[in-house]
């Protein structure tokens, strides 16, 4: 819990400031809106974080959203395929994408930055090609209203993406912090060579990390597609990989690998959404949105630095 202390304190301070500035922050409607987005962004941020822990990076997330959204719309709307099959198909596709990234990074030893950057370009291009650059939508969900309701609805007043984040987060927490594979992942990130010589199957761990990242991007991508209910192939999810990376770094992951925690990543993702919510609720001009985000991330990282330095 030590690592997340800094970000946790800032998160609480931020939330208090916003709720004092505009009590509507704590209204049910606003909490629902914000936690819905936290759910979607949190899920893929966990994937980005796990990759960062292995000292890698995944830049393809935003383009995966576009490609997946376009295909999902084609399967459901134009091909009228039953939604469970359509969902399984796109998830298998993201799994395959992650496997390709992982194989090239672990077996062929090509730098993750390059592989996933190529992914970013290729999937975006494919999404635009398949859709003919036409915005793909889900309309009123004829034939798959159940899926639409599942992705955008609430369970006991809690948005389903947020519930899914709790489930995914718990599973990832057990995997990363309570299983031997988690220890392996950290070891690979700390020092790949040392991990290899202590008998860890480094290649398999790297492969696993990229598969997890792509699969979580796939799950978040379905939620995101139904959140907007339409996918503009040239702009859907543009730069969203950076939200994942920012959430991970804000949550205590080091880009040098071997450090980080699930709770930190989720808090980081939550904070990024609260910041954008704050801009709207406190009446800050939306043009300042990115500037505010940058300042808060910087403050978070600096505070983390000082809190941790005091220990030594």
């Amino acid at each position: 819990m030590k690592k997340e202390k800094g970000i946790f304190i800032i998160f609480i301070v931020l939330c208090s400031v916003v709720s004092i500035g505009n009590p509507n922050f704590l209204s049910a409607a606003n909490l629902q809106n914000t936690t819905r987005l936290i759910g979607i962004f949190g899920i893929f941020s966990i994937g980005s974080g796990i990759v960062i822990i292995t000292r890698g990076i995944d830049l393809s997330v935003g383009s995966i959203f576009a490609l997946e959204g376009v295909l999902l719309s084609m399967l459901l709307v134009s091909q009228k395929i039953a939604w469970p099959i359509a969902v399984m198909t796109v998830l298998l596709l993201t799994l395959a994408i992650g496997w390709c990234h992982g194989i090239m990074i672990s077996k062929l030893k090509i730098q993750p930055f390059i592989i996933t950057l190529c992914g970013l370009l290729v999937y975006r291009g494919l999404a635009r090609f398949f859709s003919n650059d036409i915005t793909m939508g889900f309309g009123y969900g004829e034939g798959f209203t159940a899926l639409q309701r599942l992705a955008t609805g609430n369970l006991f007043g809690v948005p389903s993406p947020f519930i899914l984040l709790l489930v995914v987060g718990a599973a990832a927490w057990v995997f990363l912090h309570r299983s031997v594979y988690g220890r392996y992942l950290f070891a690979v990130g700390q020092n790949e060579e040392a991990a290899f010589f202590s008998g860890i199957n480094v290649k398999r761990m790297l492969l696993a990390a990229y598969i997890i990242s792509a699969l979580l991007a796939g799950i978040a991508g379905i939620l995101l597609a139904f959140y907007t209910n339409a996918i503009a192939p040239s702009s859907h999810g543009n730069f969203y990989e950076l939200y994942g990376i920012a959430a991970a770094v804000l949550g205590g992951c080091s880009l040098r690998g071997g450090e980080g925690s699930i709770i930190g990543i989720v808090l980081g993702a939550a904070m990024l959404q609260v910041i954008q919510n704050l801009v709207n609720l406190l009446g800050i001009p939306s043009s300042l949105n990115f500037a505010v985000m940058g300042v808060v991330i910087l403050t978070g990282v600096l505070a983390d630095k000082f809190i941790r330095r005091n220990k030594y």
Partner: protein
């Protein structure tokens, strides 16, 4: 030397692509439905004018340097006339002038009146803003507050639409409570609306200035359960917007006719290049009127759009 066959293959691929007919290029904005419809218009024009080849190019949003590069590349390949949709009309004047010295240039979508362009083909966004203003007055007969949603408030067409709305609302007792921007991100666009429903409960009319703002407003308002209480006025012709109009959830949407942008500008350019200069308007502007789509017209318009998309 091992690479020689590849180089030769690459060169032959490039040289194959050259067209031998005189070429007209249409350099559009980002790949959205709007420009897809313009492309359909260009294709229709190409089918009618056999003696010219027509190429259509999309660009990335805000990337004016990309438009310049595309035009330069096409020029190197032998281009006879170009129609540009300037992404930044305020600062792209010199680029239009420099190109005009080599080949005839028309601009579409946003005008650059002081440049050396042949003419402008497009809608008056100020006029479109006036139409939206009339819809807003209809939505709030007793006055009230409205919020505007747009991708970038500093884009020329956004500024003109806002100016048109402001002029129309003068003295009507309706005030603009704010403008929310989303940087062309649909997720942010919808979140902005959800946030506004919480932070501005007194606002009872939302206006979406760009195409995707319509569906974003519609979905967020529906999810909050405030359908009917918050009136919605939109621009452009996204399918969900039109469906919303059809269902009475959106009061109306102001559409331009991008198909006509593509069709008329290409025809006009072909005419001009063939030596017929009578088609050019004296004031340098071919205005394609905006339309207001209401509930009774939505079904017709939807099927028209569906037919265009299939092409």
């Amino acid at each position: 030397m091992k690479r020689l066959p590849f180089v030769i293959a690459l060169l032959s691929l490039v040289s194959c692509n050259r067209s031998h007919r005189p070429t007209i290029a249409f350099v559009a904005g980002a790949a959205t439905d709007f420009w897809t419809f313009a492309e359909a218009g260009c294709k229709k024009a190409r089918a009618e004018i056999k003696e010219y080849d027509v190429v259509f190019r999309y660009t990335t949003d805000g990337a004016t340097e990309e438009q310049k590069r595309i035009v330069d590349d096409l020029l190197a390949n032998g281009l006879n006339g170009v129609i540009v949709a300037p992404l930044d009309p305020v600062n792209q004047g010199p680029f239009i002038d420099a190109t005009s010295e080599k080949i005839p240039v028309m601009v579409t979508d946003s005008d650059i009146p002081n440049s050396k362009r042949l003419c402008y083909v497009g809608t008056s966004n100020v006029e479109a803003g006036h139409y939206a203003g009339k819809l807003i007055k209809e939505a709030l007969p007793a006055g009230g507050k409205i919020l505007l949603f747009v991708g970038k408030a500093d884009a020329q067409n956004a500024k003109e639409r806002i100016a048109g709305i402001e002029e129309e609302l003068k003295g009507s007792g309706i005030t603009i409570a704010g403008i929310r921007t989303d940087n062309i991100d649909r997720v942010r666009a919808k979140a902005n609306v959800s946030d506004a429903l919480v932070s501005h409960p007194d606002v009872n009319c939302f206006v979406g200035l760009w195409s995707y703002n319509g569906p974003a407003i519609l979905n967020a308002v529906k999810e909050s359960g405030k359908s009917g209480k918050v009136k919605i006025v939109c621009f452009d012709e996204e399918e969900e917007t039109l469906r919303g109009v059809q269902n009475g959830e959106i009061l109306g949407t102001v559409v331009q006719q991008p198909f006509e942008f593509g069709y008329q500008s290409t025809r006009l350019m072909a005419q001009y290049l063939s030596g017929d200069k009578k088609g050019l308007p004296a004031n340098g502007q071919v205005i394609i009127p905006a339309q207001v789509i209401r509930k009774d017209m939505a079904a017709d318009y939807l099927s028209k759009m569906a037919a265009l998309r299939r092409k």
